[in-house]
């Protein structure tokens, strides 16, 4: 089996923009390949994560992105599992490189979410939920996560304020991230007094509707070595993924089992344990999800997941010293659905290569990424990246 490395990364600006999806992709590609040979001379395959064709009335995103990158007659495929699409693109690229199918693959993601306004995004995202009983009951993404949050607050000692502190922490982190959509801190009062979206979730518990694209190059040892003058390689040491049931009613509301399975598989693949992870980007589409994922990833004891905001020295017994969502997370960095899993990979690449600026975690050498789609762990893809 070949070794897969993440050797180059790029993203578009994140937020509402005039640029359509393909142009956002061009921005991400331009950053990723700055100082590199042409994509056609580096990669021989492409995967693109894209949640929905509703935004731009466009499928065939694999073909389109390959064309826009100057790639001709290469395998180029769209992958989809709602918000886990980006990590699926990465996973498929890693699999192909490890298997020797390709020497290097471009993994990218793109979403033009603002195209149809809030209503368009609500309706497009609604397609991620089980149709027969759940969509036909009028649910939305915030509502399904609110069902998790309500139960979590019922079963644990956590409070709405504990969830709010997750949003405060992620905004504070984003203030130091030049890629972030919201580069400003918010205070606890602002979060607590914000309008209800789906109680107990309020506006700042929810990741924003975001336009954006991301692109990363996954390469084998030879390509990574050839391009070592102009790139910094981070090894993709572990991959895991798992589906859980689609209907939220048919899942454990306070234990994201699919995320546990995916993270455990990624750890085993990498030959590490949860305590080896220095930085983690986990899928905080809604604040409660950061807490649930901290527990599922083995960072936090059951019911203590909201301590992601607490300094490692002050956390409950059984917590690791991992730093979570240093990028600002989905909440504050932004959440362009199909690109999110790759934006997580970009943060890990920056942390592990010492490029994270004011948010740099000292001596970080190992990262976990958890990207989810559907409600929470309806689909999870997890990756371990390391420079060890």
């Amino acid at each position: 089996m070949s070794t897969a490395h993440l050797i180059a990364v790029g993203s578009s600006p994140l937020g509402e923009t005039d640029l359509p999806g393909r142009d956002l992709f061009s921005k991400a590609l331009a950053e990723a390949f700055a100082g590199l040979p042409d994509p056609a001379d580096v990669v021989d395959g492409l995967y693109v994560g894209a949640q929905s064709e509703r935004y731009e009335n466009q499928i065939m995103q694999g073909t389109l992105m390959a064309e826009w990158a100057g790639l001709r007659n290469v395998p180029a495929e769209r992958v989809e599992a709602c918000a886990a699409a980006g990590a699926l693109a990465l996973k498929n690229a890693v699999r192909d490189v490890r298997a020797g199918v390709h020497d290097a693959v471009l993994a990218c993601g793109v979403e033009k979410m603002t195209a149809g306004g809030t209503e368009g995004a609500t309706n497009a995202l609604g397609a991620a939920f089980e149709r027969a009983l759940e969509q036909r009951s009028g649910i939305t993404a915030p509502a399904t996560y609110a069902l998790l949050a309500r139960r979590y607050l019922h079963e644990t000692d956590a409070t709405e304020e504990d969830l709010a502190r997750i949003a405060v922490k992620n905004h504070r982190n984003a203030a130091d991230n030049p890629r972030a959509m919201f580069q400003q801190a918010v205070d606890l009062g602002t979060v607590m007094e914000a309008p209800d979206v789906a109680p107990p979730l309020k506006l700042y518990d929810c990741a924003p509707v975001t336009d954006g694209a991301a692109a990363v190059v996954v390469a084998n040892n030879e390509v990574a070595e050839d391009l070592s003058e102009c790139t910094d390689a981070v090894r993709v040491a572990g991959v895991g993924s798992a589906a859980n049931n689609l209907a939220v009613a048919e899942r454990d509301l306070t234990y994201v089992e699919g995320a546990d399975v995916a993270a455990t598989a990624a750890y085993e693949d990498a030959g590490i344990g949860a305590s080896d992870v220095d930085v983690a980007e986990v899928h905080d589409a809604f604040t409660v999800c950061e807490a649930l994922l901290a527990e599922a990833a083995g960072f936090a004891p059951e019911g203590r997941g909201t301590e992601t905001v607490t300094d490692p020295a002050d956390r409950s017994a059984g917590w690791t010293d991992v730093r979570i969502n240093t990028s600002g997370g989905l909440k504050a960095r932004g959440h362009p659905i199909g690109a999110t899993g790759l934006l997580q990979a970009i943060e890990a690449h920056e942390q592990l290569t010492g490029r994270a600026g004011a948010r740099q975690v000292a001596d970080a050498d190992t990262a976990l990424l958890i990207n989810e789609g559907g409600v929470a762990d309806a689909h999870t893809a997890a990756h371990v990246l390391t420079t060890r």
Partner: protein
């Protein structure tokens, strides 16, 4: 409808999977429109599944039978959809809940009550409604869904 002898069940044959069997959505909603809520029950591990399906997600077995469900249960979690999808817009805010029926089957549904009047553990009863009478924009339905009823919970 309900299999009287679950030990006789095994994998369904293709001919068993017809639009009048509750193992398909038309059959499930056909039964619901007649007032019967039918789940699949795994004869290996006793998992209940709504709507019915031909394999059990819990144990992987295909020895599933049909089981008519009680319409009463209790609220496991709940919220209110303040900005619902367009077809539900004029019903906003929509109270929704995950309900565990007295059989242990779980399903999500709207609750015909204000958010403030609902709590975890509340007893509820499932009612069957015509979607248009329930105020849902008929444009929401796909062509094959047009005759399907919707369910809603009322506080018991």
């Amino acid at each position: 409808m309900t299999d009287p002898d679950p030990t006789t069940t095994g994998p369904l044959a293709p001919d068993d999977i017809t639009a009048d069997s509750p193992f398909t959505l038309p059959g499930f909603f056909g039964a619901l429109s007649e007032g019967r809520l039918v789940a699949a029950r795994c004869t290996e591990c006793d998992e209940h599944m709504l709507p019915p399906r031909t394999a059990c997600y819990s144990c992987g077995g295909r020895a599933v039978s049909l089981s008519e469900q009680p319409k009463t249960g209790e609220v496991v979690s709940y919220t209110s959809v303040n900005r619902p999808p367009s077809a539900f817009e004029h019903l906003a805010p929509v109270t929704v809940a995950v309900v565990e029926l007295d059989s242990s089957a779980r399903l999500t549904g709207r609750v015909d009550a204000a958010l403030a009047d609902v709590a975890i553990g509340d007893r509820v009863e499932l009612r069957v409604r015509d979607p248009e009478a329930a105020g849902i924009d008929p444009a929401f339905d796909l062509s094959y869904e047009a005759e399907w009823p919707v369910h809603v919970f009322e506080l018991a």
